[in-house]
């Protein structure tokens, strides 16, 4: 199953990332310049890069190890919430109520003091660590419970969907201490740089791009290692690998936790770019939409995940700008068309063309 080495694939990926790196540079050109791109394009492409990281995370679990999680949106959102908590703490006394410590929604809801689980989030490295560790820990727990009792295939998908659904319900509650319905917004600055400036946007864009490149390298290293071979074997014949003496549970757990942490990173990069995080990010529909990016691009290939995330979201942005009612038909149609006609996604199509 492992694809033969195709040197030009790596070259194309590198070229694409370099091309993306040009976007903020072009944004810095004077408005009248022919190659100038708007602020909107910078933030939207930045968003797509975060989605691409999420797609990568789903791909190493689903495409390589055969673990279809319908709850990766939860890991993404948890990473986002960790970053959101940091941004809320950094607002300080600049909120509407001017409270030195408590975020606005806590003053509004009458919290006497900061809940214990908010402590430490004013520290950026701590918040970033939490953005990775909390999704990782949740994935570790759910994965351990599930893989240990050999819950596989669709059962695992349904369990993870229930997980993100339960988290969505929980985060909608005001007394959870995460802002309820409205989530977090009105962020001021990150690492001393005021958000919503051209410099901050460019910084976040490059942070996301560098993260994407790093994740790509990590994933490529994992899938090419012996570990990656075992994962592919688990995907194709789980029982056989078990009988050969491999501890399948640990392999699956490793890749699932790694995947959740990458998703958390994507969420943490996403929140300052879009300026808001709310419980809607946990909705099961979001997770399944991310799965379809990978399916469209071509699962089981890292480039396919990126291609899918960028192409589906580009079409979505383009289409929803003038025919938002039509988008669910296109997305639903993609689900049907890809599963029926393009099981290997766009990458499979390109390869067939390429011979």
């Amino acid at each position: 199953m492992a694809p033969r080495r195709r040197p030009y694939t790596t070259a194309a990926l590198g070229a694409a990332l370099l091309l993306l790196a040009l976007v903020p540079v072009l944004n810095g050109l004077p408005d009248t310049h022919a190659l100038h791109v708007s602020d909107f394009i910078v933030s939207i492409v930045g968003k797509w890069i975060c989605y691409a990281i999420l797609a990568l995370a789903i791909d190493i679990a689903w495409g390589y190890a055969g673990i279809l999680s319908l709850g990766h949106g939860a890991f993404f959102a948890l990473g986002g919430y960790a970053m959101g908590m940091h941004l809320m703490r950094r607002i300080g006394d600049r909120g509407v109520y001017g409270h030195p410590v408590l975020p606005d929604f806590m003053v509004f809801l009458g919290y006497p003091e900061l809940p214990w689980y908010w402590l430490g989030f004013d520290n950026f490295p701590f918040a970033m660590a939490m953005a990775l560790l909390v999704p990782g820990a949740l994935a570790g727990l759910v994965g351990w419970l599930a893989f240990r009792s050999r819950i596989t295939g669709v059962y695992f998908s349904i369990i993870t969907q229930a997980m993100t659904y339960a988290l969505m319900l929980a985060f909608f509650r005001n007394d959870m201490g995460f802002g309820g319905n409205n989530g977090f917004t009105d962020f001021k600055d990150l690492l001393g740089v005021p958000l919503n400036t051209r410099a901050a946007r460019a910084g976040l864009f490059y942070a996301a791009l560098v993260s994407l490149a790093l994740c790509l390298l990590i994933c490529a290293y994992v899938v090419k290692s012996k570990l990656g071979r075992v994962l592919v074997a688990v995907r194709d014949a789980e029982s056989r690998v078990r009988f050969l003496g491999y501890n399948v549970t640990s392999y699956k757990l490793f890749v699932f936790v790694l995947s959740a942490m990458i998703s958390g990173l994507a969420g943490a990069l996403y929140v300052p770019l879009v300026g808001i995080i709310n419980p809607g990010e946990f909705s099961p529909g979001n997770s399944i939409e991310a799965v379809i990016w990978v399916a469209v691009g071509g699962r089981g290939t890292l480039g396919g995940a990126l291609l899918g995330a960028f192409s589906v979201n580009a079409v979505k942005t383009w289409l929803t700008s003038f025919a938002p009612d039509f988008w669910p038909f296109v997305l639903g149609g993609l689900f049907v068309a890809v599963t029926l006609f393009l099981p290997k996604g766009l990458v499979g199509l390109l390869r067939r063309r390429g011979g």
């Binding site: 669709v154 998908s157 339960a166």
Partner: protein
Amino acid sequence: MKVLLALLLVLAAALPARAQDAFLANLPRLGAGFGEQAAAAEELGAAGDPRALPVLQALSDGRLLRRADGSLLIQSVPGQAVEAVSGTAADPAGAETVRINNRVRAALRVALGRLQIVANDPEARLTAVQGVLRSRSASDIPILETALARETVPRIRAQIELALAASRLAADNPDVKRAAIAGLAANGSDTARSILLESRAANPALSDEIAAAVASIDRTLALRRAAETLFQGLSLGSVLLLAALGLAVTFGVMGVINMAHGEFVMLGAYTTFLVQQACRDIPWLLPWSLPLSVPAAFLVAAAVGAIMERGLIRHLYGRPLETLLMTFGVGMMIQQAVRIAFGAQNREVLSPSWMQGTLTLPGGVMVTQNRLWIIVFGIAVLLLVMAAIRFTRFGLEMRAVVQNRRIAATMGIRTGRVDALTFAFGSGIAGMAGVALSQIDNVSPNLGTGYIVDSFMVVVFGGVGSLAGTLVGAFTLGIVNKVLEPYAGAVLAKVAVLVGIMLFIQRRPKGLFALKGRAADS
């Protein structure tokens, strides 16, 4: 014999005659001085004679007239009046209005309040009893007894008995008080409990009896609450059962993950709405639009299901993850199509009159009729599904294909046709669930999404491929949800149930009713 009869007749005539006597004796005093008026109003109020009501009302409104000879008239509109004694029409010319002062007004207010207990309008009687219940004085005992003897409406009788016991508790005689405490304990309502608690301070000698009575009421109330929680759990369980039954067929029997299942439920609810719209112009048909919707919703959802199976799912057998994604996409498109066709706002589906209102079961347990019907409907659909699988030709072929597809084909069963019919059958059941849900939930395009996760949980919990497991799973989840709700709130109860299921399948990965033997391998 004749003497006896005569005696009985005299007695029978004498009883109301005495009451009339009090009425007739007090009537002229209403035209006398203020002190006489107040005393007469008080006595008339205590006597509980309904005929006094219009006279006292007229006096209070300033419509009572007095002729020169002292006889009284009730004026309805200026220039028209009736005799206060007989009610026959009379000429008000020359009569003057009877005046009252504040003292009389106060006496009248009390008397009228009491007399309402014997009024003709049941709502007025109920209000009056509740007023008496609030005042709770021993002087109310006679009128409450009179009213209880006359009352025929059970709801009001219960209130009068409660008020009577409360008034007796305020009496001086300890024996009467004890009887009252026993009566309140037997009543077993929240009101009786608070009456008893309030009376504790005034009756230190009876504190043991009162404490025992309160404890007995607490037991009754706890039982009633438990029964009501159980009912709510059963009702939620039957909703889950209806939503999950179709899944138990498509997922459990066929192994097809249908993420568009919720959309089939939603299609059923919209079919109900359309049938109701069609029946709107035919008045005699309107109450029956809901029963008519059941087969209609089944057919609509089954047709969509059959098309989906033949057109799409058929090509993905043996690839469950792809089936899952594909059906999710189809669900998305169905939902959006409905949103465009009907709009995103909620559509109203009316309940027929025979499904509205609440029912009080013995022991004071209140149940809403429509929830009761949904429980009945859920069980009926389950039995129907079981019968269809067990006793029909189609059921036999379906079981054969599930057990061994190739041998079934060799035996001449057209397996493709059975697949399509089975999927259509499961989808049709989802449509019928939509009819039930239209009665308790908003009919909107995303009606189904709220139930899909729960229904999958029911099927996984109960054991895939087992209808009995679906039944037990649905009712267990429904009841556990409702039992947890008062402690944890609706949302956390749901979260707790989801976590509980994840832990449960640690112990029983194949669900509560796991298939055994050869069928379990596949």
